[in-house]
């Protein structure tokens, strides 16, 4: 038995992007939100450091500067029309969030507090600018809570712990999704006029990661299997400061507050790699610098980690060397108390997971897999576009980390993801509702849930001996070592072979759980299937791109090559192989030039 529901707009995912879309779509269209996690468990809640907008609350700032910084941060692969749109909308978006009750930290005057973040600068002086609007170091938690609360207030329809497994397309347009209800194992069809995927990223493909277990790229994988392309999948961000071995994120806000990276010889090293902004360079630049330090034997105790030091005396020492000042012109000096107030969660993570107190000890860190720049291609209304000409697929939308607008290009700036969610989630919601008003429901095929049912039955009845966890571990290690911060053709080709072999083993996965109620064994295996598909797309896109740009750093092609590679990758899965094509980057105001920090 399949249960059938009908909603004009169906949103898959209840993180920042999905909830924002829901708030706006539900104003005019009958809307449902499906989420495999209870909404407040979404990964948006993990975001720490802040959300970018040129409010100028503490010093001069302009949306144009934000735009330029984001274009530069993207290593000129971001589409400049979309970036400009996002940075202009940012200011109002932040005020909207405050009006919804979001408890931002405040300046002494009672305005929204802002802090510096990597790659965000005063375009005249080149110095870091305070652009990141924050609520202590739990900005994402506050955004997620606030949006969910407002959705409750507006009585949005939620289907919690419903995992979407397939997209229904009829005559080249979206017509709904198929989901499994985790508590019962029943399949449900959600018949819709418009579908929005806001399913987040896929950082669980790598071994050391800041990402949640739920980050398995479900939305992207579903869309890929339904014959649509994925964009710029080779671009995946490694954040410089993950807690050693755990991968848990230490926000860039720590460096915004004056923390510095120190190598095993006790030296601050970022000044050699980014003389102007040093520890506040872009993430790709810093992660590479850290790898080089470690490769050249300057890891701490010869190990694969370095120190992030935010002890007040160290912060003050380097603030003095850098001549850093407060907005009122006085020298920047901090205290243990200020650090505790501004970074309470970070302090706690270090105490719980490392037994280290950051106020008195340096924090061992290593780069950690963090953010999916690529994803489902969309335009700035959230419409999924499916070819080199950016033709929109009627009724199909994507937003948030699952989507690639592209505003992050080859490297995302910190604070721009939360902004992306809020801006493009909203526009996807508005556009989808408007689209839904103008069209009728399409007839569903009689067997809309059959492909899923067959696949699940087949998985449940496999007789092989392979274990999901073992295949996942092998995939994660291969991807982390060869499709990570630095890449070579040899390494990536090896990974492609590995992934194909793992896919073969995957066909023989044995499931212990054959039941219906919360069959996490089955769903973990299904999610691994998604990650294997995406890993292959990532490696194939990466090996083809023979240049270094943003997060894609090749040791065999060390320079950016605008003549041949200033273009977006589109990857299709066709008969078991990956087909690559390319589309141009939108350049409006800023001609590509060399990127130095």
């Amino acid at each position: 038995m399949t249960n059938i529901h009908q909603f004009e707009v169906v949103i898959v995912g209840a993180g920042g992007a999905g909830l924002m879309a829901a708030m706006f779509a539900s104003r005019t269209a009958k809307t449902a939100v499906l989420s495999k996690l209870h909404p407040t468990r979404s990964h948006t809640g993990a975001a720490q450091g802040g959300i970018g907008a040129a409010l100028g609350n503490l010093e001069e700032d302009h949306p144009d500067w934000h735009t330029y910084d984001s274009v530069k941060g993207s290593d000129y692969l971001g589409d400049q029309d979309a970036i400009e749109f996002m940075c202009n909308e940012a200011v109002e978006a932040i005020y909207d969030l405050e009006h919804m009750g979001l408890p931002f930290s405040r300046t002494p005057e009672g305005r929204i507090a802002q802090r510096p973040f990597g790659g965000h600068t005063n375009n005249v002086t080149g110095k870091p600018v305070m652009r990141s609007c924050y609520a202590a170091d739990r900005t994402g938690h506050m955004i997620l809570q606030t949006l969910y609360q407002q959705c409750l207030r507006n009585q949005v329809n939620f289907f919690d712990e419903f995992q979407v497994l397939d997209l229904i397309l009829v005559k080249g347009a979206a017509a709904g999704v198929v989901a499994v209800e985790l508590a019962t194992g029943e399949l449900h069809i959600f018949h819709a006029k418009a579908v929005i995927f806001a399913t987040g990223g896929h950082g669980r493909i790598w071994e050391i990661t800041s990402n949640a277990y739920a980050y398995t790229g479900d939305g992207a994988a579903i869309v890929l299997r339904r014959g649509l392309p994925l964009e710029d999948m080779e671009f995946f961000q490694f954040h410089p400061t993950g807690i050693y071995k755990f991968g848990i994120l230490i926000t860039e806000g720590v460096r915004g507050e004056g923390g510095v990276l120190i190598n095993g010889e006790g030296q601050r090293f970022m000044e050699h790699y980014a003389p102007h902004v040093k520890d506040l360079a872009s993430r790709d630049v810093i992660s590479r610098a850290m790898y080089i330090e470690m490769r050249e034997g300057r890891g701490v105790n010869g190990k694969r980690y370095l120190y992030l030091d935010v002890r007040p005396e160290i912060v003050n020492k380097y603030a003095e060397i850098d001549g850093r000042t407060r907005p009122d012109g006085t020298p920047y000096r901090t205290t243990a108390q200020e650090i505790l107030t501004k970074l309470p969660d970070i302090i706690e993570f270090c105490r719980v997971y490392l037994g280290v107190d950051p106020v008195t000890q340096p924090i061992p860190v290593q780069p950690t897999a963090h953010y999916t720049m690529g994803g489902i291609p969309t335009n700035q209304y959230g419409q999924v576009v499916y070819d080199e000409k950016n033709s929109p697929m009627p009724g199909l939308y994507a937003a948030g980390e699952a989507a690639c607008v592209s505003v992050h290009g080859a490297n995302r700036l910190g604070t721009n993801s939360l902004l992306d969610l809020v801006v493009f989630g909203k526009h996807a919601g508005i556009h989808a509702a408007r689209y839904a008003r103008g069209v009728a429901f399409q007839d569903l095929p009689a067997d809309a849930a059959d492909p899923v049912r067959q696949r699940l039955d087949e998985m449940l009845n496999r007789t092989g001996k392979e274990k999901t966890a073992a295949i996942a571990d092998a995939m994660k290690a291969a991807m982390f070592h060869h499709v990570g911060v630095f890449r070579t053709e040899e390494g990536m080709k090896e990974v492609i072979e590995d992934i194909r072999a793992l896919k073969e083993r995957y066909r023989h996965v044995h499931l212990d759980d054959r039941g219906k109620i919360f069959n996490t064994d089955l769903l973990n295996a299904w999610e691994l299937g998604n990650m294997l598909d995406l890993a292959e797309v990532i490696a194939a896109s990466a090996v083809a791109r023979q240049e270094s740009r943003g997060a894609h750093a090749r040791q065999d092609f060390t320079k950016r090559d605008d003549v041949n590679w200033l273009k977006h990758t589109l990857a299709w899965q066709k008969e078991g192989a990956i087909e690559l094509r390319y589309k141009p980057v939108v350049i409006t105001k800023f001609q590509p030039k060399e990127r130095v920090y």
Binding site: A46, G110, A183, I517, T520, N524
Partner: protein
């Protein structure tokens, strides 16, 4: 090091009564999370074991469970924190068990929703369209209760909640507190009225279990006292 896990098992589909299974993880490390051990058991020993989890660092609130008799997030306790190689893991108390360590959270969410846990204010509040002004001191007043992640560690450690599941419980009061003491919000009176009802704040017997159980270190007992005081005095301070 070798760790022995005794895990509560229950699945209506297999027809067996609730029971405990014992698993040995032979190569655990003292820095492993209890969640890592559960993943290891599910991944390599028994795929039928079911539990919720997502963020793996104490932020999403998915994996509240009873570990050696006390409520924790499994991703926020390290093996070395427990000081023993014998670990018993059970579902949180007071909510119906659906399977193994997964409980029905709906009664908990209903209590949460009942206190109007959302910002309420006239729609277009600020003339210049910018943010409302709130001083750092005003913001600080409700900071502690903004930290709640709805994991249910507090409510399911509360004897008053065990005694009567209709009691709204500490988590709901914490979430009401977050808005009552936010000077930008206008719904305090409604919330105080709700919490003044029979199943509201007066059921709290100040057992302190909630504060001890909270993985976010929220001073819950104090938040509840703030709310009680606001009801009795009619003043929000």
């Amino acid at each position: 090091m070798k760790i022995t896990l005794k895990i509560y098992r229950y699945n209506t589909e297999d027809g067996k009564p609730p029971h405990y299974d014992t698993f040995v993880v032979p190569d655990a490390e003292e820095n492993d999370l209890v969640l890592d051990l559960l993943e290891c058991v599910r991944g390599y020993q028994d795929g039928t074991l079911s539990f919720r989890r997502s963020c793996a660092h104490g932020i999403c609130g998915s994996d509240a469970m009873r570990i050696n008799g006390r409520n924790y997030l499994a991703c926020k306790v390290l093996v070395k924190d427990l000081g023993t190689d014998q670990i018993t893991i059970e579902p949180i108390l007071g909510l119906p068990v659906l399977k193994d360590l997964i409980v029905d959270m709906n009664p908990f969410y209903e209590h949460y929703r009942s206190v109007l846990p959302f910002f309420m204010c006239p729609d277009d509040p600020v003339a210049d369209g910018k943010e409302r002004i709130q001083t750092p001191e005003e913001r600080e007043r409700y900071d502690d209760t903004t930290k709640c992640i709805l994991c249910a560690c507090c409510t399911t450690s509360c004897p008053s909640f065990w005694a009567d599941g209709r009691y709204v419980g500490p988590a709901a009061i914490v979430n009401a507190h977050r808005f009552i003491f936010d000077n930008r919000d206008c719904g305090a009176e409604d919330r105080l009225n709700i919490l003044n009802e029979q199943m509201g704040v007066w059921r709290c017997r100040t057992a302190f279990n909630c504060t001890e159980a909270c993985p976010r270190d929220i001073n819950i007992t104090k938040a509840i006292a703030d709310v009680k005081k606001a009801i009795t005095t009619g003043k929000i301070e």
